[in-house]
């Protein structure tokens, strides 16, 4: 029964591909090209004087200690967000997978945060931890913590990391749970018969079999931490205090939209683009080899 379905038309495949190609061109390739083009220009906000400056925008960036500091901050931030978004999600998924009664209720409640927009998540956390009116800020103060994220950079960073990670836990939970449910029960039963403890089963069977999901989530979470956390930072700290939460993507916004320094902002987005391409490449090239499919 090996019958091949065959369309004689030569043009049809292109028509079928066209919508996706057009979307990619218009919304991804074209703006990326614009950014690359503007990164070698220096211009005033209104575009009255435009001059070609070569790589000056890039060299200027690396002459600034600010930019390198922002890079390290972003690395720290992304690793923290990814870890804090994935580890609790895995724990929750393992727990939810074991629950027998009211399983749907638990699962639904754990997925809800994903439906919340990042900016709204930021504002929610901001309210809870607002030094003047926040309920959790009040609790912290009762415990004797000198809580003021408007001034204390470490506190501001912690707050942003938690808000950004919290938002992503639901998404990771969903994937981990699906991954867990696809693990054949027979394997786990066999291990139980051999007398393996729950912990042993988890480390030797569950985790290796979850590695494709984990790997996928690692890529997605890194990209999330690099780009999508913008609105969380914007709503909560605006990059402050004293640049403590100014991650790369926020600096692009700040220099481009607030300062209207289009050349530098474009140069930064080109660098950001290269970093994410490199990260994705490394992940697929090296990390994927360790993944058992």
């Amino acid at each position: 029964m090996d019958r091949k379905v065959f369309f004689p038309q030569k043009i049809l495949p292109y028509w079928l591909l066209a919508p996706q190609l057009i979307i990619t061109l218009v919304f991804f390739i074209w703006p990326a090209g614009q950014a690359a083009y503007m990164s070698v220009l220096q211009q005033d906000a209104f575009g009255a004087s435009v001059q070609f400056v070569g790589l000056e925008n890039f060299t200027a960036l690396f002459d600034e200690s600010d930019y390198l500091e922002s890079m390290w901050r972003t690395a720290y931030f992304s690793i923290a967000v990814t870890t804090l978004a994935m580890a609790p999600a895995l724990l929750l998924a393992v727990m939810a997978d074991r629950v027998v009664r009211a399983a749907t209720f638990y699962k639904t409640s754990l997925v809800i945060p994903y439906a919340i927009a990042p900016a709204v998540a930021g504002v929610l956390w901001l309210f809870m931890f607002n030094p003047a009116v926040g309920i959790l800020a009040w609790v912290l103060k009762e415990w004797g913590v000198d809580w003021n994220p408007a001034l204390n950079g470490g506190q501001a960073m912690t707050l942003v990391i938690f808000a950004a990670a919290w938002k992503q836990i639901a998404y990771n939970f969903l994937f981990f749970l699906a991954g867990l449910q696809s693990i054949p029960k027979s394997l786990l039963e066999a291990a139980s018969i051999d007398g393996a403890s729950n912990a042993t089963k988890f480390w030797t069977i569950v985790l290796p079999l979850l590695s494709p999901v984990t790997f996928f989530l690692l890529v997605v979470n890194m990209v999330y931490a690099f780009f999508d956390t913008f609105s969380v930072v914007h709503a909560m700290t605006g990059g402050g205090p004293a640049k403590a939460t100014e991650i790369l993507v926020y600096k692009v916004y700040n220099d481009g939209v607030i300062a209207l320094n289009l050349g530098s902002s474009s140069a930064q987005s080109v660098i950001l683009m290269l970093i994410v391409i490199a990260l994705t490449f490394i992940q697929f090239r090296y990390v994927e080899k360790k993944v058992h499919y």
Partner: protein, 453 residues
């Protein structure tokens, strides 16, 4: 197949015929085509609603123009949107822009038209002397022409919590007027533990740098405080600014001052009763009156008596926003006429008076100010007289009429960052201002380079 296509075509034709008929039937009803004037505003809440209300009143008052207001985000976001629209050849006719953006707007040659010129194009009278002197000084060119039309005008004042003052054993009817008095009051509040923090401030750079400069007649830079055009240099690292920042840094240690963020966030610290004193825009009165669950008073912005001649402070300077008119290749004289007529409506005494009374902003025109004064508004409403006494009737000097530097929005943030670092204990006031001066100068030079043509 063919017949199907035929029917489709037919039904499409008949559909469009219906549409054509429909529009033909409607158009006589709209009488004549109105010219549309686009205005982008940066106000939300009550102030934004009021401005929209004035717009519809203007639209109802005549048949030639229709002004359409839209909110495109806070001032910086709105500015970015307007710049993009300008580059695409379709900027709004009018854009509301906050004080700090004035330098960048002025340098945007060709992109904006000074409001004096708009009225000339419209063949309508425009007299800069109609506006209160501080607003005129802030928004005009050295030759007296006005660049933009002042609309929402405010200045910085001091709010204090009378309940906390009483608890600390301070005189609730006699607010501190000088910095040494404020420091003493704030320390007393902390010592008596009347509240968790002594004082706080909103808009750090605007109040502690710009207003502080005007209050002591100190320039932020040369070339007539930047108003004479490009090439100005900053003078931020001086003894006066160091003293102010060091005071904040020292007071942060025992919470007699507690930093509450760059923009308006610190107002919540006052309204919640956490801080006894707040330096804030006079426009913040509405929110405080609405939300504060305690007795509060309004005092003038404090000053250092030993930094002013005869121990008398100078006037503060204005803040708020003004209305800028954009240029575009396809703009007609008729459109400018519409803009000018709308501006005339906005600055008319009934509108200005209503606006100032409802929002807590100051009246931008002399006529509106006089009308409110004659009516006894300022004496009848305690607290509302403070910005008037301090700004309009205050002692004027060469540096009280505002400043104008390019990329000032960024320079403000540089100041915020460096002072935040100082408040965190990572550097002292002199280092903070040295860094602000260095980074601010670099921004200003880059601005000059970009605008040289």
């Amino acid at each position: 197949m063919l017949s199907k296509r035929g029917t489709l075509k037919k039904s499409f034709l008949s559909l469009s015929a219906v549409f054509l008929l429909g529009s033909a039937a409607v158009s006589p009803a709209t009488a004549q085509q109105r010219t549309e004037i686009q205005m982008w505003m940066g106000l939300t809440g009550q102030a934004g609603e009021l401005l929209t209300k004035y717009t519809s009143e203007f639209n109802a008052s005549q048949t030639e123009y229709r002004v359409v207001t839209s909110f495109k985000g806070q001032y910086p976001e709105q500015r970015a949107a307007a710049v993009a629209a300008y580059r695409a050849g379709a900027p709004p006719h009018i854009m509301q822009m906050f004080d700090a953006g004035s330098g960048d707007m002025t340098a945007a040659k060709g992109a904006i038209i000074p409001v004096s010129e708009v009225f000339k194009k419209a063949n309508l009278q425009f007299n800069p002397a109609d506006f209160i002197p501080p607003a005129r000084a802030y928004y005009s060119l050295p030759n007296g022409d006005m660049l933009s039309m002042p609309f929402n005008v405010s200045t910085a004042v001091m709010f204090y919590n009378k309940d906390i003052f009483k608890k600390a054993g301070l005189d609730a009817e006699k607010p501190p007027t000088t910095w040494p008095e404020v420091i003493k009051a704030a320390k007393t509040i902390r010592e008596k533990n009347a509240s968790a923090c002594g004082f706080t401030t909103t808009w750090l750079a605007w109040i502690m740098l710009e207003q502080h400069g005007a209050r002591h007649n100190i320039a932020l830079g040369d070339k007539n405080n930047g108003k004479d055009g490009s090439g100005a240099s900053l003078d931020l690292n001086n003894k006066a600014n160091q003293r102010m920042v060091q005071t904040l840094v020292d007071m942060q240690k025992d919470k007699s001052f507690d930093y509450g963020g760059r923009s308006n966030d610190a107002a919540a610290k006052f309204i919640s009763g956490e801080c006894g004193i707040l330096m804030q825009s006079s426009g913040g009165l509405g929110a405080i009156a609405r939300d504060a669950k305690f007795q509060f008073g309004v005092g003038q912005l404090p000053y250092w008596p030993d930094m002013v001649t005869a121990g008398k402070p100078y006037a503060t300077t204005i803040g708020g926003a003004s209305l800028w008119v954009f240029n575009a290749p396809n703009r007609t004289a008729n459109e400018y006429r519409g803009v000018a007529q709308f501006f005339n409506y906005l600055k008319s005494t009934p509108v200005m008076t209503d606006w100032a009374k409802a929002t807590g902003f100051l009246p931008a025109t002399n006529a509106a100010f006089k009308s409110m004064q004659d009516e006894g508004f300022f004496t009848k409403n305690p607290g509302r007289d403070v910005p008037v006494v301090q700004l309009i009737n205050g002692r004027q000097g060469p540096n009280t009429g505002g400043y104008r530097f390019g990329r000032w929005v960024e320079i403000r943030d540089v100041y915020h960052e460096e002072v935040e670092k100082a408040l965190q204990g990572k550097q002292n006031a002199a280092e903070a201002l040295h860094n602000t001066q260095r980074r601010g100068t670099a921004l200003l030079r880059a601005f000059d380079a970009q605008n040289r043509s």
